[in-house]
C-alpha cells in the first residue's frame, strides 16, 4: 500500500498549486498515515468495527488518486422535490455546483482556501489521510445575525466513473453570532466499492444555531467515514440527526466541544439496517464549562445479519458544574444473525452534575404483537406498526418541521 500511496500522492499534489509549506504539511500527514495505516480493532475506538479488515474484504486495493476530469454533468434527477433549498453538489468528491439563490447577497461567504490546517483533535489516521489528499477545501461562513431562509442541501453523489477509489473531502463552516444554518447531507451513490472519508468542521459563535441532518438512505456498496467536529460558544445550539441505513459500511463520528456557558448539543440517530451492513455511530460530547447540556438518542432496527454499534461518551470536566448529560440507546434485533454492540461511557470529574445513560437491546415484544393481532392486524402489519412507532420517537426529536416531514416520508412513516 505504501508505494501506491506515495505514487498517488505525487500525482495529487502535482495538479494543485500549493505553497512549499502546504506540501510539507501534507507530506507530514502522509507519513503519519503510512505509519499508522487504516484503523484496526486493536485501537479502542475501532474495537467493534475493524476498518482495515472491512476495506480489505470489500474493496481490496484502494487507489488514492482520482483523475481530475473536468465537470461531470450534474444529474438534476437527484435533486429533492417539494422543498425549496440551496444546493451544493458534489460529484465524486469534487464540488461542481454551489447555489445560494434563495439567500441575500453578501450574507454568505464562500472562501476557497487550500491551506492545510490540522484542527482535528482526534488522533486517528483517517484525519491524516484526509489532510494528505484533500485537494481543495472550502469554508462557508454565515454572517452575523443572518438566518438562512431555506435549508442547504449538500448532495454527495458518486457515479460509476470511479471504482476502488478513496475520496477525501473537507468542509469548514463558520456560524457567526446569532446566525442559523439548516444543513442536510444527502448521500446518493451510483458507484460501488469506494471509500469516502469526509471531515466537517463547525465553528459556532455566540447564540448561533446549527441543524445538521445526515441522510444515508439509498442502497449502495460504498464504505464511508463521516467526522463532525463541532466547537460551540455561549448559548449556541447544535442538533445532529443521522439516518444510517444505505451504505455497506458507515461510521459517523461526532466530536462536540461545549466551550461556552448554556451551550447545548443534541444527537439523534436511527440505524435501519438489513443484509450484512455494518454501521456505527460514535459520539464524544465534552462538557467543558458550567451549565451545558447534551442529549443523545439512538435507536436501531436490525434485520438479517446486520450489525450496529453505538459508542457514546460524555466527558465532564471538573469546572463543568451543573452539567446535564443524557444518553439512551435502544435496539430491536429482528434476526438471529443480527448484532448490536454498545459502549455508553461516562467520564465525570465534577460533582454537581446530572448524567445518566441507558441502553437496551432485545427482540420485538411478542405481547405487543399479540395485542395488535387480537385487534385484527396481521403479523406483518403489527410488526411494522411497532417498528414505526419505535423509530418515530427519534424522528419527532427533529425540531424543524419541514425537514421532519421530509425525513418521515423518506423512511415511510405515516402518522
Amino acid at each position: 500500500m505504501k508505494e501506491q500511496l506515495q505514487k498517488d500522492f505525487e500525482n495529487t499534489i502535482k495538479n494543485l498549486s500549493l505553497s512549499q509549506k502546504d506540501i510539507e504539511i501534507k507530506k507530514f500527514s502522509l507519513d503519519n498515515f503510512i505509519n499508522k495505516g487504516f484503523p484496526n480493532r486493536k485501537e479502542e475506538d475501532w474495537k467493534f468495527s475493524d476498518l482495515n479488515k472491512i476495506i480489505n474484504k470489500n474493496i481490496g486495493e484502494l487507489s488514492f488518486y482520482c483523475e481530475d476530469k473536468p465537470t461531470n454533468k450534474v444529474d438534476t434527477s437527484v435533486f429533492l422535490d417539494g422543498l425549496e433549498h440551496n444546493k451544493i453538489v458534489l460529484i465524486n468528491g469534487r464540488i461542481e455546483k454551489i447555489d445560494f439563490d434563495y439567500e441575500k447577497k453578501g450574507q454568505i461567504e464562500i472562501i476557497e482556501h487550500s491551506e492545510t490546517v490540522n484542527k482535528f483533535y482526534n488522533n486517528n489516521s483517517l484525519s491524516d489521510l484526509n489532510n494528505a489528499f484533500t485537494n481543495k477545501s472550502f469554508k462557508i461562513a454565515v454572517k452575523e445575525g443572518y438566518q438562512l431562509s431555506k435549508p442547504l442541501i449538500i448532495y454527495h453523489t458518486t457515479n460509476t466513473k470511479i471504482n476502488s477509489c478513496n475520496i477525501n473531502l473537507r468542509l469548514d463552516f463558520e456560524l457567526h453570532e446569532n446566525s442559523c444554518l439548516r444543513l442536510i447531507d444527502l448521500f446518493n451513490d451510483k458507484s460501488e466499492k469506494n471509500f469516502l472519508n469526509i471531515f466537517y468542521n463547525f465553528d459556532l459563535k455566540e447564540n448561533s444555531i446549527l441543524k445538521n441532518y445526515k441522510v444515508d438512505k439509498f442502497e449502495n456498496k460504498n464504505i464511508k467515514y463521516l467526522f463532525n467536529n463541532i466547537d460551540q460558544n455561549k448559548n449556541s445550539i447544535s442538533e445532529t440527526f443521522i439516518l444510517s441505513s444505505g451504505s455497506n459500511f458507515l461510521k459517523s463520528e461526532i466530536n462536540c466541544d461545549l466551550n461556552g456557558e448554556h451551550s447545548s448539543a443534541f444527537v439523534n440517530g436511527i440505524f435501519s439496517l438489513d443484509k450484512n451492513k455494518h454501521h456505527e455511530i460514535r459520539t464524544i460530547i465534552n462538557h467543558l464549562t458550567e451549565n451545558t447540556k447534551s442529549y443523545q438518542l439512538i435507536k436501531s432496527v436490525l434485520e438479517d445479519s446486520s450489525k450496529a454499534v453505538y459508542q457514546g461518551k460524555i466527558f465532564v470536566n471538573s469546572e463543568a458544574q451543573k452539567t446535564d448529560g443524557y444518553q439512551l440507546s435502544k435496539a430491536i434485533l429482528l434476526n438471529k444473525e443480527s448484532e448490536f454492540n454498545a459502549k455508553p461511557e461516562l467520564e465525570i470529574y465534577a460533582d454537581d452534575v446530572k448524567c445518566s445513560h441507558g441502553s437496551a437491546s432485545g427482540s420485538l415484544n411478542e405481547d405487543s404483537i399479540f395485542y395488535l393481532m387480537s385487534r385484527g392486524l396481521n403479523y406483518n402489519q403489527a410488526r411494522e406498526l411497532l417498528i414505526n412507532g419505535f423509530l418515530l420517537d427519534v424522528v419527532e426529536k427533529i425540531t424543524d418541521s419541514e425537514i421532519k416531514n421530509l425525513i418521515k416520508n423518506m423512511i415511510g412513516i405515516k402518522e
Binding site: P344, I348, V353, S359, S361
Partner: protein, 480 residues
C-alpha cells in the same frame, strides 16, 4: 450516640495498620525458575504441579504488562520482589491451634478474628492466610463429616490431587492475562473448597488474608468446586500493615459450579489504602472468575471494596450451563488518592441464562473510580437476560467517576438493559437529615448507606454489619 462516637474515633485511622514482628522464611529475591522450584519444593509439591508452574512461567515471559486501565501506576520491578515469605514457625506445620506461634494468634486476635474462640463458637469456619502460607483452618473436622473439604490449597495439592488437577486452571487458564499467569507460576497459598454432591454447607466458610512482610507480593489462589446440587457461601476479608511502599497483591480465584449448584462469594476488601497524600498502599490486581458449568447453576459475587491504593479487578461469570445465573453486587469506595477500576464480565453461552449487575461507586477526595463491565450474549444463548445498573456518587469536584460498559448482543431472543446515573448527595437530603438532629457527617453516612443498601443486603449478616461500618469510616473527612 456517645458510644457510637467513641467507636468511630477508635476506628478513625486504618486500625489494621500494625505489623507483626515475626521471623520469616523467604525465597531469594527476584523471579526465575529457581525461585519457582524453591516455592514448589518448600510446599513439597508433586512433579505435575511444578510443571504447571514452569509452563506458566514460560508463558509469562512472553506476555506484556497491560496498560489500558484507567489508574496508571509506576512500573513494578518484578525482580525486586520476594515471591515467598512465611513465618519461620510454619516451617514444620503445627498440627493444631495449640501449637501455633502465639504471635500469630495475637495478630489475628487484634484483627478481630480470634482463631481459638472462633473455633469454639459455632458459625464460621476460617482459613487464615498470613503472607504466603495458610496458618490455620478452623472447623475442619466438623466439615469433613459431611464430606466437605476445606483446607489450604497447598494441602489439597498433596491430598486431593485428582480434584486439583481436574479443576485448577480450568476457569483461569495458564495462558490468561499477565497477572493471572504470574499467579499461576508463583502462587503460594490460598483456600481449597470442595462441596460434594447434594450437600448444603452448614456454615459460612471464610478466608482471612493478611500481608505482613514488607517487600513481598502476595499471590494466593483459591479454588472452590460445588458439585451437583450443593450450596456454599464463602467470605473473604483482607488487611495489610501501613507502609510507605506499594505492595502487589495478585490473586486468582476460580469457582466451578456444576449442575444445580450455587456458590455465593463475598469479599470485604480492606487492604491498606495508602495515607492521605497517596503514599503507600496495596496494588490489588486480582483475577476472579466463576464458571457456571452445569445446568441451573448459580454464582453470585458480592464485593465491598474500600481499601487498596489501586483496585483493578473484574469478578466474572461464564454462564455455560443452560438456565445458569450470574450475579454481581458491588460497592466500591475511593477516598483521598485511591483509584479503582472495577466491574464485571457476564459471558452468556448457555440458553436461558440470566445475569444481574448492581454496582455502586462512591468517590471522594482526589480519588478516581471507574466501572468497567462487559455483557456478552453469544448467538447461541437464546432467551437470555441481563440487567445492569451502575450508579455513582461524587463528593467534591476533585474526584472522578467513570462508567465504561461494553454491551454485546448477538442474539435476537435475548434482552439487555443497562442504566447508569451519576450524581451527588443533594442539598435537600442533607438538609432534611440535619434538621432532624444529625451532624453533617452522620447524615452523609446515612445517605450513603441507603445508596448502598441493595448491595449490603446481599452480604451475610456478620459481614453486613462490618461492611456498613466500613462504608462510614472510608468516607471520613470527605464532607465539608
Amino acid at each position: 450516640m456517645e458510644n457510637r462516637q467513641k467507636e468511630i474515633d477508635k476506628l478513625k485511622d486504618y486500625k489494621y495498620g500494625f505489623s507483626t514482628d515475626i521471623e520469616n522464611t523467604r525465597a531469594p529475591k527476584g523471579l526465575n525458575e529457581d525461585v519457582i522450584k524453591f516455592i514448589s519444593n518448600i510446599k513439597k509439591e508433586p512433579q505435575w504441579m511444578l510443571e504447571f508452574r514452569l509452563k506458566a512461567y514460560e508463558r509469562f515471559k512472553q506476555l506484556k504488562e497491560p496498560n489500558w486501565q484507567k489508574p496508571k501506576y509506576p512500573n513494578i520491578d518484578y525482580q525486586d520482589l520476594y515471591y515467598y515469605s512465611a513465618p519461620k514457625s510454619m516451617d514444620d506445620k503445627p498440627k493444631s491451634l495449640d501449637e501455633l506461634d502465639p504471635k500469630l494468634l495475637e495478630t489475628y486476635k487484634k484483627l478481630g478474628i480470634p482463631l481459638q474462640e472462633q473455633a469454639r463458637l459455632n458459625g464460621i469456619a476460617v482459613d487464615a492466610v498470613f503472607d504466603s502460607v495458610s496458618v490455620a483452618t478452623t472447623f475442619r473436622e466438623e466439615l469433613i463429616k459431611q464430606g466437605i473439604i476445606f483446607c489450604p490449597i497447598s494441602e489439597a495439592i498433596q491430598k486431593h490431587p485428582e480434584l486439583v488437577k481436574k479443576y485448577l486452571g480450568s476457569v483461569i487458564p495458564l495462558t490468561d492475562h499477565f497477572f493471572a499467569t504470574l499467579n499461576s507460576a508463583v502462587f503460594t497459598d490460598g483456600s481449597f473448597v470442595y462441596i460434594p454432591e447434594g450437600v448444603r454447607c452448614p456454615m459460612e466458610l471464610s478466608t482471612y488474608f493478611r500481608i505482613n512482610a514488607s517487600n513481598t507480593g502476595q499471590f494466593e489462589r483459591t479454588l472452590i468446586i460445588a458439585d451437583k446440587g450443593s450450596y456454599v457461601s464463602y467470605l473473604e476479608g483482607c488487611t495489610a500493615p501501613m507502609r510507605d511502599e506499594n505492595q502487589l497483591h495478585a490473586a486468582n480465584v476460580e469457582l466451578v459450579a456444576l449442575d444445580d449448584a450455587e456458590i455465593k462469594y463475598s469479599t470485604v476488601q480492606n487492604w491498606y489504602p495508602g495515607d492521605k497524600d497517596g503514599k503507600g498502599g496495596i496494588y490489588n490486581f486480582v483475577t476472579k472468575r466463576g464458571l457456571c458449568k452445569g445446568k441451573n447453576s448459580k454464582i453470585s459475587w458480592t464485593q465491598v471494596e474500600t481499601g487498596s491504593a489501586i483496585t483493578w479487578k473484574y469478578p466474572s461469570c461464564i454462564l455455560k450451563g443452560d438456565n445458569s445465573v450470574g450475579e454481581f453486587y458491588s460497592i466500591a469506595i475511593t477516598n483521598n488518592h485511591q483509584k479503582a477500576d472495577t466491574g464485571t464480565k457476564m459471558i452468556h453461552l448457555g440458553k436461558n441464562t440470566k445475569s444481574k449487575i448492581i454496582s455502586k461507586g462512591i468517590s471522594a477526595g482526589f480519588s478516581d473510580m471507574t466501572y468497567r463491565g462487559l455483557v456478552d450474549i453469544s448467538s447461541k444463548a437464546s432467551n437470555s437476560n441481563n440487567y445492569t445498573q451502575c450508579d455513582s456518587l461524587l463528593m467534591g469536584n476533585k474526584c472522578g467517576a467513570h462508567t465504561v460498559p461494553y454491551i454485546k448482543n448477538k442474539n435476537s431472543e435475548s434482552n439487555i438493559a443497562h442504566e447508569a446515573t451519576t450524581s451527588k448527595i443533594s442539598e435537600e437530603q442533607l438538609h432534611y437529615c440535619q434538621q432532624r438532629g444529625l451532624s453533617a457527617e452522620e447524615a452523609v453516612g446515612l445517605i450513603v448507606n441507603g445508596f448502598c443498601k441493595e448491595v449490603l443486603q446481599q452480604l451475610p449478616m456478620e459481614f453486613a454489619v462490618e461492611a456498613q461500618k466500613l462504608v462510614g469510616i472510608s468516607l471520613e473527612g470527605s464532607v465539608g
